[in-house]
């Protein structure tokens, strides 16, 4: 018997944390993440979830409490968005550097100023070098599925890194979709119990965590995180395959998902909910006898560059759509990260949807048309900009 609920992305995230039987939650409300932490508070209040819910006074304390809880051996969850994620910035580095397998849901939202509560991905992109694994969901089902997998990825003995699961604000957080909720027992069986071996705070075996790492030691700790990110590429794929086998849902290879690439000379690359719109456009154009492809990035950190190169072997033109912008360079992060690996192709960067600016099917068609016919290699074009 399938248990399907018609729920928002934030509810799906809360359900996933509940299914993973988290021990400690510390979170602070911010639009459009709020309903997820309200939902979790409700689960705890009703005894549906046996967890400590710390009603912290800020996101900085939320993530700090998560580091303390995780280090004590608790499975730990938090959720935030935009300004809240930016406030966490300092401690995000600490969480990764101290190898705390915290799982976070981030509802992607633009950053001030001007203040704007709507969707783009500048918030999480701006945290890309913190050492966190970053996964991006296309829809609400994928949000739930990714969060369940995230615990297993984070707690993997060879990874031990925090994982951020991103979903587009409002587009997913406030839109209801049917989501299949797996059985709790099955999820627990899949995720297992968290038993820290590398670092913990237990009086019977005192350990010092967060020591001063002078120049003699610091670089190696950075290199260790890099190695763990490398290892995570295989772990994410492996966990994805096991998840697919057990729960019957697959998302490409867990790192990237190709859509009609094998038939296409022109391929679009992006992350998150926009992939859904692009898939619709590709289907429409296919019906007219035109072939276009999409490469959806699920894992942005670690970035599977080999897989991306391989998937784009047959492509000639690549349109890279960014919901973020490096001001002063006029390029988005996906473009700067991926284009260097695609030197033999025409690569064009599109800045789209900043601060929730609508991206319609017509915009996608305009991008395809531009990439194929007019664009120069490595050009940047802002879509939907008022002149």
């Amino acid at each position: 018997m399938q248990n399907v609920k018609v729920i928002t992305g934030t509810s799906a995230a809360a359900e996933a944390a509940k299914l993973a039987d988290v021990d400690v939650i510390a979170a602070y409300p911010i639009t459009p993440q709020t309903t997820s932490v309200e939902k979790l508070a409700e689960f705890v209040a009703n005894g549906e979830l046996n967890a400590e819910y710390i009603k912290v006074e800020s996101e900085h304390s939320a993530i700090s409490a998560c580091v303390g809880a995780s280090a004590t051996g608790a499975r730990t969850f938090t959720a935030t968005s935009s300004q809240g994620l930016a406030l966490m910035h300092e401690i995000l580095f600490a969480a990764a550097g101290m190898r705390m397998p915290i799982v976070m849901m981030n509802a992607n939202r633009a950053l001030s100023a001007p203040i704007n509560i709507w969707n783009d991905q500048q918030d999480s992109i701006s945290q890309r070098d913190t050492g966190w694994i970053q996964l991006y969901a296309e829809n609400n089902q994928e949000t739930l599925d990714l969060i369940i997998q995230a615990f297993k990825i984070a707690e993997n003995e060879n990874v031990l890194l925090p994982v951020m699961v991103n979903l587009d604000g409002f587009i997913l957080t406030h839109t209801v979709e049917p989501v299949e909720i797996p059985e709790k027992e099955k999820v627990l069986n899949f995720v297992g119990q968290y038993e820290p071996k590398h670092a913990y705070l237990r009086p019977e075996k005192p350990m010092t965590q967060g020591a001063l790492g002078d120049p003699e030691w610091y670089m190696e700790t950075r290199y260790d995180v890099q190695k763990a990110q490398d290892v995570a590429l295989n772990v994410i794929k492996d966990i994805h395959d096991k998840f697919a086998e057990k729960f019957g849902r697959a998302y490409g290879n867990g790192l990237i998902e190709s859509y009609n690439i094998e038939n296409a000379e022109t391929v679009l690359i992006t992350m998150g909910s926009l992939c859904g719109t692009i898939k619709d456009v590709i289907d429409e154009l296919k019906a007219e006898g035109k072939e276009y492809g999409l490469l959806k990035i699920i894992s942005y950190r670690p970035l599977p560059t080999e897989e991306i190169k391989e998937a784009l072997k047959g492509a000639k033109n690549v349109a890279i759509l960014d919901k973020d912008i490096s001001l002063g360079l006029d390029k988005g992060a996906l473009f700067t990260d991926i284009a260097p690996f695609l030197k033999d192709k025409k690569t064009v960067n599109y800045i789209v949807g900043l601060g929730g600016r609508d991206i319609r099917k017509a915009n996608i068609k305009e991008i395809i048309e531009h990439t194929e016919n007019e664009a120069k290699d490595t050009e940047t074009k802002w879509i939907g900009l008022k002149e």
């Binding site: 021990d23 400590e52 700090s64 409490a65 280090a71 004590t72 608790a74 600490a94």
Partner: protein, 297 residues
């Protein structure tokens, strides 16, 4: 004291603090009173830096440092995790685990103030110890909200126009008491038994406890290393640092000097006050007389 508190040293000798550092005394006495079943969260600052240069550590209890302003939040997470693991997995059954946070005056009264207020107000079962050396020592003696009136620091220097710090010391114990927490106390490293009794009490009490302990700092205050304990004593005797506790709202002085000494005897020992004129000292003495009267000392 020898009978009441164990010989075992949970804070190992050989840290890298300055000779005569009072912060090391705070840590050592705290652990003696709290015992083995303790988890420590430490804010960035002298205590953290001097005790854990990787791969060495002075801590024989589990210890964690994350950042400057979040020791109270980290301790909140530790406390919540202990509770959760107790309930869900039967860990620490029948045991009392002390969660202790250490923060300097900067990490507590200034940048860590919000996290501390949140942790106290939420009622976590933890002991927060503010080791107060009255400035940001780790970064080279800059003023904090806890720097006393007229003390010269590198960011409140005594100049020809401004006479050192121009604002009074922030009253942290009263601010903490206003949170309605079950236990608030002041202490001094020079009255170890008084301090350790307070730590013990704070550990035993259910809920948040806050102890502010005055910690003389040779480098920041400017006095010879051998005089740390003496200075701590002079501060109490002069009435500039009264020792008291507020237990469930009940205020009690825990040590009353039989005869108060003049503030000058305390001030003249330290370079941070050497710019003071006779009028300055008189002004200070009047302020202290007034405060001591208020506090019943």
């Amino acid at each position: 004291m020898a009978r009441q508190f164990p010989r075992e040293e949970l804070f190992a000798p050989g840290h890298r603090g300055c000779a005569g550092c009072g912060a090391a005394i705070v840590a050592r006495l705290t652990l003696k009173a709290a015992g083995k079943n303790t988890i420590v969260a430490n804010a960035t600052g002298c205590l953290e830096v001097m005790t854990t240069p990787y791969p060495e550590t002075a801590w024989r209890v589990p210890w964690m440092h994350v950042a400057f302003e979040n020791a109270a939040a980290v301790a909140s997470g530790i406390e919540a995790a202990v509770k959760s693991l107790k309930r869900k997995r039967g860990l620490y059954e029948g045991e009392k685990v002390n969660v202790i946070a250490f923060g300097g005056d900067g990490g507590t009264a200034d940048i860590g103030f919000q996290a501390l207020s949140g942790a106290m107000e939420r009622g976590h079962d933890m002991v927060y110890i503010m080791y107060d050396n009255e400035a940001y020592m780790n970064t080279g003696v800059q003023r904090s909200g806890s720097t006393p009136y007229m003390a010269s620091t590198t960011t409140s220097p005594a100049g020809s126009v401004i006479r050192g710090e121009n604002r009074p010391k922030k009253n942290m114990p009263m601010i903490m008491a206003a949170h309605g927490i079950p236990y608030v106390a002041t202490a001094s490293i020079s009255y170890p038994e008084d301090f350790m009794n307070k730590v013990k009490k704070a550990c035993e009490i259910d809920g948040p406890a806050f102890i502010q302990i005055l910690q003389p700092c040779t480098t920041g205050w400017g006095y010879p290393a051998a005089k740390t304990v003496e200075l701590g004593r002079l501060a109490v005797k002069a009435g500039i640092w009264p020792l008291y506790e507020i237990e469930n709202g009940e205020y009690r002085v825990t040590y009353k000097p039989s005869k108060r000494i003049s503030i000058e005897e305390y001030l003249k020992t330290q370079k941070r006050y050497r710019h003071l004129t006779e009028e300055d000292i008189e002004e200070m003495q009047n302020l202290i007389n007034h405060k001591c009267q208020e506090m019943g000392i």
